[in-house]
């Protein structure tokens, strides 16, 4: 049997429970004697803690304990960085609970354990915290002045400056016939998950074992961190991944609560659960995206890009969190995107501010740079009098240049290269599907009271982060096969796609894959999880290795049974055949289990082109998406239905970031967007005509599946596309957006400024 589940739109296994309300999320767990944790969070953005009085809270009936920094023996541990753990960042890492200072609104100060959430919240109001206020550093500019230090002993608010370089940018600029310099900003928004975060911990004092439910994304790494912080062996901790209501890079990183709740459970010897409420989520989950750049481009007069040079300032919030440096690093590395730019010098400085710390949000640094770069390209094309479509096509990295080196990042000396693809094919396909040639005449037209604008732009998406992933296969008594995987599920459908990969590799019907068990630390020896669009590429490749190893074990076992040598055994579907046609079935080898690994140092690069048609009501600044198409080539496709779902879903997130979502602070560092009535998310009525075309023309050469990470294909280009389309629609007013999101107010202000300039 030659299966072809890989490449087919197999309906998802997990949906059978989700559509019936039978998913099991962490808040659905409710063991006996459970205590509920609620967290007192700092209400000021910067200050020195003088005292915390919890006595009145402790007197409330139903309150079992109130934990502050002084209750943690040896003082509260810090949360180490997971990615780019450079020594420079160490002093900026976050303590699991505030001890001497608070540095952002939302920082944990005390944990109340009570018999109900409501009683715990009653108790929060009785805790008296005395804080000496300090003036906050609310943005990069204030932070850079250096007179409002978050960590006084360090003498600076700058954690580090990354540099991306290739060629000789300064020399190229000196000699360039055309140069344009611009400043752009992206707003602050984040990977809001519709299920708020949650942790439940159960401590078994008799055996010294800790079970932590609610794990997501990177359970093995988090277990290592937690074990070190609690002084437990790793093997004493089990991290359990339940159903997870969305990840987007933000969920599943190690947060303060990932220490506080297990610590609390051990402290009181009872199960403890904490479920974040939405207000907490807006101020406690990693923020993202906020950056400003001063960047210039050098070109020949006929439109060949010679060089990029500039500086980015990234607003990090108050601490360096586990993956906090990723976006800032990527801003330097991805500024050139899919274009061949031989000379690059880009610096990216990370500034600590008195705001919620940042981490990754789907397409970290890539969403930002696509906005910066694609805006710059449209402005340069206009200056040079070159068609913006031709300008892009001419400068895309050609297929003949693959693999194509990206600029080198320092410190870290990290090198990377674009793995495969023909960017122009995708580009032309997008223009054709969009009908660019026919629509181009709409550019800037006023029709029935709305201005029409079009834009086209390109992106690359990194994926498949190493170093390793692990998979295991086990034959069940009935001859079906169970799959265990180190990759994590965050809603992307891993149970289905791994069943497809396993069924094809084993050449058995897909319903003989009894289950795909993922995430939790008990299933495989070592796991790395779900980030950087890696789950399928890394886990799937490990699964192919596990299949090979399982077949080897089956041959060895069968050869003993049949009294022959392993090379005489052939495996066809679920039949294991020896010499003379003697035969056994999978069920005869029940209990056999084999692990497989995949090691990887390189990255996959999905790529594509987006085009959009927008209209703008200049009177009220409202932008409407009339048509939007994303064409994405993502290597070998496992399930076209789910990968298309990734593109459309991430596109709407990108449009949210381009037009709606905005975390706003006042001058005192108070978060002004503390509810979903203030923080605007896309709804079913906002974006209607969205199309995604996914192709698999160029398999990745760096993994045996040929797959590429494909979770960001819709989001990366969205900001640049929308901003360029708005600029083109409103060209009569000379509108040139330099900041996201393009809220109605911001668009209206640009129109009004344009009107007064014209007068």
């Amino acid at each position: 049997m030659r299966n072809a589940f890989v490449g087919s739109a197999v309906e998802r296994r997990e949906d059978l429970r989700f559509v019936r309300g039978r998913g099991q999320y962490v808040d659905d767990l409710r063991p006996d004697s459970l205590l509920h944790a609620v967290i007192l969070r700092g209400s000021v953005s910067h200050g020195r803690i003088r005292s915390i009085d919890t006595s009145a809270a402790m007197r409330i009936e139903g309150v079992q304990a109130v934990i502050t920094a002084r209750d943690i023996p040896g003082g509260p541990p810090r949360i180490a960085m997971r990615l780019q753990p450079l020594g420079e960042f160490k002093p900026f890492e976050q303590s699991v609970i505030a001890d001497t200072k608070v540095r952002y609104v939302g920082e944990p100060i005390a944990v109340v354990l009570a018999t109900s959430v409501a009683i715990g919240e009653d108790a929060l109001e009785r805790i008296v915290v005395d804080i000496d206020l300090l003036p906050p550093a609310g943005d990069c500019e204030t932070s850079a002045k250096g007179d409002r230090l978050l960590f006084e002993e360090l003498g600076t608010n700058c954690a580090i400056t990354f540099t991306a370089a290739c060629g000789d940018a300064d020399a190229a600029f000196d000699a360039a016939p055309y140069v344009r310099r611009e400043k752009f900003r992206t707003g602050r928004h984040y990977g809001l998950t519709i299920e708020p975060r949650g942790v439940m911990a159960q401590w078994d004092a008799a055996t010294g074992r800790l079970t932590v439910s609610g794990a997501a994304k990177v359970p093995f790494f988090n277990r290592r961190m937690l074990a070190a912080q609690l002084g437990l062996p790793e093997t004493a901790i089990e991290m359990v991944e339940n159903d997870v209501g969305g990840g987007f890079g933000a969920r599943g990183e190690f947060y303060p609560e990932d220490f506080l709740i297990p610590f609390a459970a051990r402290h009181v010897g009872r199960p403890v659960k904490w479920i974040e409420d939405r207000r907490e989520n807006l101020m406690a989950m990693n923020h993202a995206r906020q950056a400003e750049v001063d960047v210039e481009i050098a070109c020949t007069r006929d439109g060949t890009i010679l060089a990029l040079r500039g500086h980015a300032d990234v607003d990090m919030g108050a601490y360096m969190r586990t993956n906090g440096a990723v976006a800032a690093r990527n801003i330097a590395q991805f500024m050139s995107g899919p274009y061949r730019i031989p000379n690059i010098k880009l610096r990216s400085s990370l500034w600590m501010t008195n705001k919620t710390p940042v981490g990754t949000y789907r397409a970290p640094g890539r969403f930002e740079t696509d906005f910066f770069r694609e805006r710059l390209l449209d402005l340069a094309a206009k200056d040079l009098g070159i068609d913006r479509v031709e300008f892009r096509r001419r400068n895309l990295v050609p297929a003949s240049a693959m693999p194509y080196p990206m600029p080198t990042i320092t410190p870290f000396e990290s090198k990377d290269e674009l793995d495969s693809g023909d960017y122009r094919i995708t580009f032309d396909r997008c223009l054709e599907e969009f009908g660019w040639a026919a629509k181009a005449k709409l550019q800037g037209q006023l029709i029935d009271g709305r201005y029409h604008g079009l834009a086209v732009g390109c992106f690359i998406e990194g994926g498949a982060a190493g170093p390793k992933e692990t998979a295991r296969l086990e034959i069940n008594p009935d001859g079906s096969v169970a799959v265990f995987i180190g990759s994590s599920a965050v809603g992307q459908g891993v149970e289905t796609v791994f069943a497809q990969i396993a069924a094809d590799a084993l050449e058995i019907p897909i319903d003989r894959i009894s289950g795909v068990h993922h995430g939790s630390t008990t299933y495989v020896s070592d796991g790395y999880g779900a980030y950087h669009s890696r789950s399928v590429v890394m886990g799937g490749s490990a699964l192919l290795d596990a299949t090979k190893n399982l077949h080897d074990l089956m041959r060895a076992a069968a050869s003993k049974r049949f009294g022959c040598v392993p090379s005489e055994i052939s495996i066809r579907e679920d039949r294991i055949i020896g010499p003379d046609g003697v035969c056994a079935t999978l069920a005869d080898f029940a209990g056999l289990t084999a692990e497989g690994i995949f090691l990887n140092k390189k990255h996959t690069f999905t790529y594509g082109t987006h085009a959009a048609h927008v209209t703008v009501d200049a009177k009220i600044g409202q932008v409407e998406i009339v048509d939007y198409i994303a064409v994405v080539d993502c290597g070998r496709i496992i399930n076209p239905m789910t990968v298309r779902g990734q593109v459309i879903g991430s596109l709407v997130q990108g449009l949210g970031g381009a037009l709606l979502e905005d975390l706003r602070y006042d001058e005192e560092g108070q978060l002004l967007t503390g509810s979903l009535a203030d923080y605007l998310l896309p709804t079913a009525r906002d974006f209607l005509n969205l199309r995604a075309i996914v192709t698999d023309m160029f398999p990745s050469p760096i993994n045996p599946l040929g797959a590429k990470g494909a979770g960001e294909g819709g989001i990366i280009a969205a900001g640049g596309i929308v901003a360029n389309a708005v600029a083109n629609a409103l060209r009569a007013f000379g509108v040139e957006p330099r900041e996201l999101p393009l809220t109605p107010q911001r668009v209206w202000e640009m129109v009004e400024a344009g009107r007064s300039n014209r007068r």
């Binding site: 998802r12 949906d15 429970r17 808040d27 809001l192 159903d243 965050v490 997130q653 079913a684 009525r685």
Partner: protein, 163 residues
């Protein structure tokens, strides 16, 4: 802490009486006292729609209703719209159209869509979008959800009476 009050109502066809604090929301009562965890809590301020249930046939946010207000009501949750044997046409349509990713908003989407289609089996895409705009999905981008609801309309139409 106020004393607990008894409240009686019907849930998924079964009469229940529970003791609740007056301040307990209906969604907390359903989830934590009646252990019907298919109804989810996403914002607790009536914006996200994850907790949508049916109260006397109408789609209602269970986080904005107190449990005591349910006295005498007929409540239907996602569990009441599901069975063990097979997916309902609406559920099957959600699966077929890939209108589900993480699954957290899904029960609220399905209860909302069920209420709509029960009343208006011939609604158009604009109407579906209008009604679903009170339910936030962070994964799918809504396109597939709207398609799934439209595709399920036929199952809600009354069969033509034969002449």
């Amino acid at each position: 802490m106020a004393t607990a009050m008894p409240v009686s109502f019907e849930v998924n066809g079964k009469q229940v009486t529970v003791e609740v604090e007056p301040r307990m929301t209906l969604v907390d009562c359903l989830r934590y006292q009646l252990r019907l965890t298919g109804t989810h809590v996403g914002c607790e301020h009536g914006v996200c729609g994850a907790c949508t249930i049916l109260v006397d046939g109408e789609a209602v946010r269970a986080c904005l209703m107190l449990a005591v207000q349910a006295e005498g009501c007929k409540v239907i949750t996602i569990e009441g719209l599901s069975n063990d044997e097979a997916l309902t046409p609406l559920q099957a349509s959600f699966r077929r159209h890939h209108a589900v990713q993480c699954g957290f908003c899904t029960p609220g989407m399905i209860t909302t869509a069920h209420a709509l289609l029960s009343e208006e089996p011939d609604c158009d895409a604009d109407r579906v979008r209008e009604v679903l705009s009170g339910n936030i999905c962070r994964c799918t981008g809504y396109i597939s959800i709207v398609e799934a609801v439209l595709d399920a309309r036929s199952a809600y139409r009354k069969p033509e009476t034969l002449p």
